[in-house]
């Protein structure tokens, strides 16, 4: 089957119905393994047991940012190719990305208090991550309040592309500015600076969050396709009544 076949919403729904149970099973399994490894990981020599917050905070940050990157690609599909599934995908990602960004900010704050002595500082990394959450809320507001879904989708797509500027700012904020937040320690030139006893559970949790993200994304896309189907059926019904 060609990749282009997925572009047909009916075929897409059929494939989602088939793969979703497997994805749910794999997500639950990996989350269970990841949480077991995370909760039994050794304490950090400086931070003690609070390092356990890292296993939630870091993957949530990855997928808060990845969600926006995916929304930007979907925005191109909406604006350039006007592909209906692209907009479905972009709209489906927004609440999931916002939820992961929110988790990242709250867990980061709860990690910051015992580590830095404060819940919040207006440093570049924390502020740019907060901007990401506000951008997500903006996109959601555009989708949920637009009277004409087409116009709402185009406005959300434009905001997605403009907001993508924030992604490199988040990533490199710890290098460009003097921040309280630590510099990159997982994906960096020269390899990770995290001890394998902590890195392995972190990567397992990263994989579990990947599956959770994909599963939720496909499930929300399925709901959105059904919603659009209902809308078009109602419109046809209304046209027939007026005819």
């Amino acid at each position: 089957m060609a990749v282009i076949d997925l572009a047909n919403p009916t075929r897409f729904l059929r494939i989602v119905d088939r793969v979703l149970p497997w994805l749910i099973g794999a997500t639950v399994f990996l989350l269970a393994v990841g949480l077991y490894r995370a909760l039994n990981a050794p304490d950090d020599y400086q931070q003690g047991a609070t390092v356990k917050i890292m296993f939630l905070h870091v993957p949530a940050a990855w997928f808060g940012m990845f969600g926006w990157a995916l929304m930007s690609v979907a925005a191109l599909g909406t604006l350039v190719w006007r592909h209906p599934l692209a907009d479905v995908s972009g709209k489906a990602v927004a609440p999931i990305g916002a939820a992961f960004t929110f988790i990242c900010l709250v867990t980061g704050s709860l990690w910051g208090r015992p580590t830095w002595g404060t819940y919040w500082v207006w440093d570049a990394r924390l502020t740019s991550m907060l901007v990401l959450l506000l951008l997500y809320l903006g996109v959601l507001a555009l989708y949920w309040t637009a009277e004409d879904p087409g116009r709402g989708a185009r406005a959300a797509a434009i905001l997605s592309l403009v907001g993508a500027v924030n992604l490199p700012i988040i990533k490199f904020s710890v290098d460009w500015w003097n921040t309280l937040h630590q510099p990159a320690s997982v994906f960096r030139i020269g390899g990770s600076t995290i001890d394998p006893s902590l890195l392995t559970p972190l990567l397992i949790m990263g994989l579990a969050f990947t599956l959770l993200f994909v599963t939720l994304h496909l499930a929300v896309m399925r709901n959105e396709i059904l919603r659009r189907r209902i809308r078009s059926m109602r419109l046809m019904q209304a046209q027939e009544v007026h005819a």
Binding site: A60, I103, I230
Partner: protein, 55 residues
């Protein structure tokens, strides 16, 4: 498992994450059943999509 003197912060972080993810999953499931129910009602009333119509 000993969570040390900052156990409250660790437990709060895991609780918030669990709550947000559970809320997201609940919203997805409720939305799915609502869309399915509306679609079923429309089909029962004989409303079909253009692509399903014959002739």
């Amino acid at each position: 498992m000993n969570l040390g003197p900052h156990a409250d912060f660790i437990v709060a972080a895991y609780a918030v994450t669990l709550f947000v993810v559970a809320a997201l999953i609940a919203w997805v499931l409720l939305d799915y059943s609502a869309q399915r129910r509306i679609l079923g009602d429309l089909e029962e009333r004989g409303v079909t999509r253009r692509s399903r119509r014959k002739g």
